[in-house]
Amino acid sequence: MSRMNLLQAINNALDTAMAADPRVLCFGEDVGVFGGVFRATSHLQEKYGRERCFNTPLVEQGIVGFANGLAAQGSVPVAEIQFADYIFPAFDQIVNESAKFRYRSGSLFDVGGLTIRAPYGGGIAGGHYHSQSPEAYFAHTPGLTVVVPRNPHQAKGLLLAAIRSPDPVIFFEPKRLYRAAVGEVPDEDYQLPLRQAEVIKAGEDITLLAWGAQVEVVEQAAEMAEEAGISCEIIDLRTIVPWDVETVASSVLKTGRLVVSHEAPLTGGFAAEIAATIQSRCFLYLESPIARVTGLDTPFPLTLEKEYMPGPLKVFEAIQQTMDF
């Protein structure tokens, strides 16, 4: 075990994967000597050489297209997109190509080795173009797996699982927690299961569901609720798609109430999908409407970021309203 922050855990996962399998390659803008603008790939070029860890020219569609080709060839590319806000130039390569390689060729070809890492989310005074949470765009595309870790232990275990998954994975890293989340991480090689949510706290009255950086917010809200005598069950979804309906549904069957929270805007956000599915699975057991606490239906602001973000107070009020329905 070592104490690491979330970035160090990602670096450690990449190191572990590259050491274990010479087919693993890491690349992207500033990923080489510099180790990435956030330092997630520090020292990998020193250790594994320029052929396996390198800077690319500044072109996201090129990075992902190149990675698709590499993965089709049998290599295991881990491509970094510098900020999730800049993943959109690669959108076509991801949603039309990565996602559909297997389907359109009847498994003659696939890009299972592909992992795309991108720092996402707000709370860092990044304003309009350094704060977005784009998971819902990708969740709408069958064939992709979208994963979001919440702490260093998860980051290493889930990233290793993503790199070794037979499907292409988009791995969104909560950049607000890069240095803020610190914890014990096993030194050895381990994987955490994809497609499986984690119940991180058992409770009776209400289920709270979130992922990534929002889990901490929901935990804070739960503490406030506990003080008010409300027992909360907290679930971290971990994999956005394909998502773990069973774990969420069985929790809601028990508590009868659900609050889902994410930073992205409300309309078309992934909470909408969860609410619709859980409503049809648990209709007769629900004691109140499923609540969503999310960003506003607007782009991301800077000066009024706190007002925009779903913080603990907003989640707590949603819990109260759900309880008092």
Partner: protein, 414 residues
């Protein structure tokens, strides 16, 4: 029917053309010491324009120094400097008509300085306060001005380059003799958007000037890892477009090149690519530390080619500038920046309502409802929202005021 413009002759052995066969020269007039090269013709730069150009370069340098210091003091969340590239940016701007459109990348505050963006305008954006026309939505340095024909900066790189092509095509149709200047880095020139922009511009004969600031680095990535071959200027050939490489630290050369580019664009509808060879003397941004990827020695060598010193020498030699004048100007600019910054820091934040305005032309009902819930929430917990809660009622007063003025808008006033 002719399906290609190529007039190539057939050959009967495989002959490969190589990009290395074409070496594009660098157009330069001023030596690093600020005297003219032998053979450099008379500059067409006139006294007033030359002074305005140099003043804007000085202003940009002062602004950058002050704001970088402010960032280091924790007064500002982020900053980006133009340092080392002032000649490329301001020299090109000076060669345009003030009503030509500029679509910049983010490091081009010199263009705004030249056009008369005020210190207050800079500060209001940097501090994202109530005076920022974009209401504190974007990080510092994302300026914009409709009056000064400067498109508001968007962080996703290279997106403005094909937009420049489109905007300029519209200018051509409007027939008012204007063009658009797109400015970007050599890193951004790797994006697909760049190639799309050049191709469309040459096919449709668009009055657009593409100005690449080749400053050696895209964050930590040196040009040698950005592209192979003879730089960005050569790419124009593939699109049958005019291109020129110019010494980007020589304001006179940049000015002349851009002036001629503008003539080609506006009079002949020929798009032009300019590659300005320069160097990013400062860090990429206030979040970056270049010592991790380049040597002090390399930076020092470029410091000796400072574009400001070069132009200053030329101006002094012509008697168009005085050292005392400069000393006083720099002093007063520093004071102006500092004083204005202090005021901007204290200005109130944008009204809460600006969270939901400008998304659509009119706030849709569902968003209005989200906003009303937010207001109620902030009212219940004013201590948690110190930036907006104290102003909630003032905002309502503002609204009332707005309603009031619009109600009277048509009335004659005494």
């Amino acid at each position: 029917m002719k399906t290609t413009r190529s007039t190539a002759k057939p050959v009967h052995k495989p002959v490969f053309a190589n990009g290395d066969d074409i070496q594009i020269p660098v157009f330069t007039l001023l030596k690093p010491d600020g005297t003219l090269y032998a053979g450099a013709g008379q500059s067409s730069l006139e006294r007033d324009t030359a002074r305005r150009l140099y003043r804007a370069m000085l202003y940009t340098r002062v602004l950058d120094e002050r704001m970088m210091a402010a960032q280091r003091q924790g007064r500002l969340s982020f900053y980006m400097q133009c340092t080392g590239e002032e000649a490329a940016v301001v020299g090109a701007t000076a060669a345009l008509d003030d009503a030509d459109m500029i679509m910049a990348q983010y490091r081009e505050q010199g263009a705004l300085a030249y056009r008369g963006f005020t210190t207050e305008d800079f500060m209001d954006q940097l501090f994202g306060n109530q005076g920022d026309p974009a209401h504190g939505r974007q990080m510092p340095i994302h300026y914009g001005s409709r009056e000064l024909y400067y498109l508001t900066i968007s962080s996703p790189l290279a997106t403005q380059i094909p937009q420049a092509t489109g905007y300029a095509y519209g200018q051509k149709l409007a027939g008012q003799g204007h063009c658009t200047l797109a400015i970007f880095g050599e890193g951004a020139a790797s994006e697909g958007d760049f190639h799309a922009a050049l191709n469309m511009a040459s096919v449709h004969k668009v009055p657009v000037i593409f100005l690449c600031r080749n400053n050696g680095y895209a964050i930590s990535t040196p040009v040698t890892e950005q592209f192979a071959g003879d730089g960005v200027a050569a790419r124009a050939f593939g699109y049958r477009m005019q291109s020129i490489r110019v010494d980007g630290n020589d304001a006179l050369a940049v000015y002349e090149a851009t002036r001629e580019a503008r003539r080609l664009a506006v009079e002949e509808n020929e798009p032009v690519l300019i590659e300005a060879m320069t160097y990013r003397l400062a860090a990429h941004s206030s979040s970056d530390d270049p010592s991790g990827y380049r040597s002090k020695k390399e930076e020092e060598a470029w410091r000796k080619k400072d574009p400001l010193r070069r132009l200053q020498r030329w101006l002094l030699d012509r008697g168009w500038w005085e050292e005392d004048e400069e000393r006083e100007l720099v002093e007063s600019l520093r004071r102006e920046v500092l004083d204005t910054m202090k005021r901007a820091e204290k200005r109130r934040p944008p009204a809460l309502e600006t969270l939901v305005t400008d998304v659509y032309a009119e706030v849709p009902p569902a968003l209005r409802e989200q906003f009303d819930e937010l207001v109620a929430h902030v009212r219940r917990h004013p201590e948690a929202y110190p930036r907006s809660a104290p102003w909630l009622d003032a905002d309502q007063a503002d609204d009332a005021l707005r309603d009031d003025t619009s109600a009277h808008a048509g009335e004659a006033r005494p």
